[in-house]
Subunit: 207 residues, 3 copies
């Protein structure tokens, strides 16, 4: 349990920092930076909770708010050094989406939704904060163009439900399906994978 | 009832395809295309259900998800032929907004909202998926600039409430008010109607 | 109570007009203008109500809808004269955000949220309508770049909770914390305050 919380917080830290980095690039002021960090970190979970009509987590538990605030301040102060720690950030972020995916899937299961919807909820939890971040910054959401991010979440959610049919313990299922998300994302980035293009050469040139 | 379901599915197909067409124009990858198709088809109903605090329909009934997935795949494969069937697509889409409008109005009535709000809910159900689609694609929503689309829904909703004061049967009211939406939209497109411009010649030139 | 309602309506008028002004600049048609006026005026409160799972106010009380409709029509007709009354508009708007902040804070308190979240709800109520307006118009929300607006709301909310620890009457607390919002905003605009920049000279030049 304590590991779970630890990883959850690491994920929130990583998402907040990724929000700060984009807000800095857009030359936002301190308030804007904080809001972007905030929606990046909690946007996905909030949409999920609104859709399944559950209580919104960060509104009842201030830990998230404090963590986001602290990470944002630290990220702004050390923004010139962030390049050096990008690698570890990327790891936190990857662990974060793995965890957020599982949290979303499990919330869906607990509310009695069908597996397909639970996988969608998991993916939404992990990815939608980034979508809101990009909309607020007036960009086409990166996830719609570079999608192994979401694909990793979907496959992790799928693994979760496949393993549920076995007699493995709940903890093991969580760890295994989380590992699937992490592995796919690491492989995808290492080997620069992307979904097969559906556009012919000619179509790309027309662009 | 069976006709109702048939038209509902046709509407979902038409909206999905309209989403795919825009995502293709933006050169999105397969995942992005699917998401855009999805929000175009269910975005309006989802916003409505969140606002009136009802269960979100597609989360409990997977038919929508399957229909959207299948239409998107077909639309991507036959995207070069879509020009030829645009006319029939346009018909589905028009029938779709008529139906979505009535569905939205009736959901509002069932939850006890005042007529004006029910008309807004109907219009939202029919039009808001397109708005989210345009926001995600980083465009000013087309509906804010070419609005006979929404006007048709509003007038259809109005017809619904006017007819409710008569002794017509519920089914007839649904068919008549749906026909109003369809007729206005067909006439508007045929004769290229738009709302009266409020801008003077000079103002347009300044632009 | 009657003063409260009067100010609430003034706030709605001011927000609607600010929406109309931006929609006109984007050369939207009458329907688009109305929608932008609408989301500017009720967007913040709607998000708040969805997040705290309360009934959405404007859906049960049509006064808001009528006020927004009437202000929009008047604003469009007299749009060339709006420059002259900008000063009074700005006052309404400032009074409006003060009131919206307090309304949001009190709704949060009534639902038992912690003070920090209540302040966020108040700020959201006052500022988020403008954020949705800017997103729909395809702009980076102005609030993320010119933030004394939000800062005034935050400090007003903070004042509210500090005064709650005293024995002042509820009415006095509302008036005092509302005044803080108004005073800070007036001072900020008069002296052109902004949050301290976090960007070095060099960083700004790189931009």
């Amino acid at each position: 349990m304590s590991l779970f919380v630890f990883i959850d917080i690491l994920g929130t830290v990583a998402f907040s920092i990724s929000g700060v980095l984009i807000a800095l690039k857009k030359r936002m002021d301190p308030f804007g930076i904080l809001i972007i960090a905030f929606v990046t970190a909690v946007g996905g979970g909030t949409l999920r909770d609104v859709l399944i009509d559950a209580n919104v987590a960060w509104m009842r538990n201030l830990t998230y708010v404090y963590v986001i605030f602290a990470s944002s301040v630290v990220a702004v102060i050390f923004r010139k050094k962030l390049g050096y720690i990008r690698r570890s950030l990327f790891l936190f972020d990857t662990i974060g989406i793995a965890l957020y995916t599982i949290v979303g899937v499990e919330k869906g299961v607990a509310s009695g939704f069908p597996p397909l919807i639970c996988i969608a909820l998991g993916t939404m939890t992990a990815c939608f904060g980034g979508v809101i971040r990009d909309i607020l910054c007036n960009e086409i959401p990166i996830i719609f163009r570079k999608n192994i991010y979401a694909t990793a979440c979907i496959l992790g959610g799928l693994t979760y439900f496949l393993l549920m049919k076995t007699s493995l313990s709940q903890n093991l299922i969580v760890i295994l399906s989380g590992s699937v998300v992490i592995t796919i994302r690491l492989l995808a980035v290492t080997f620069d994978w992307s979904l097969p293009s559906i556009y012919g050469k000619k179509e790309m040139e027309e662009q």
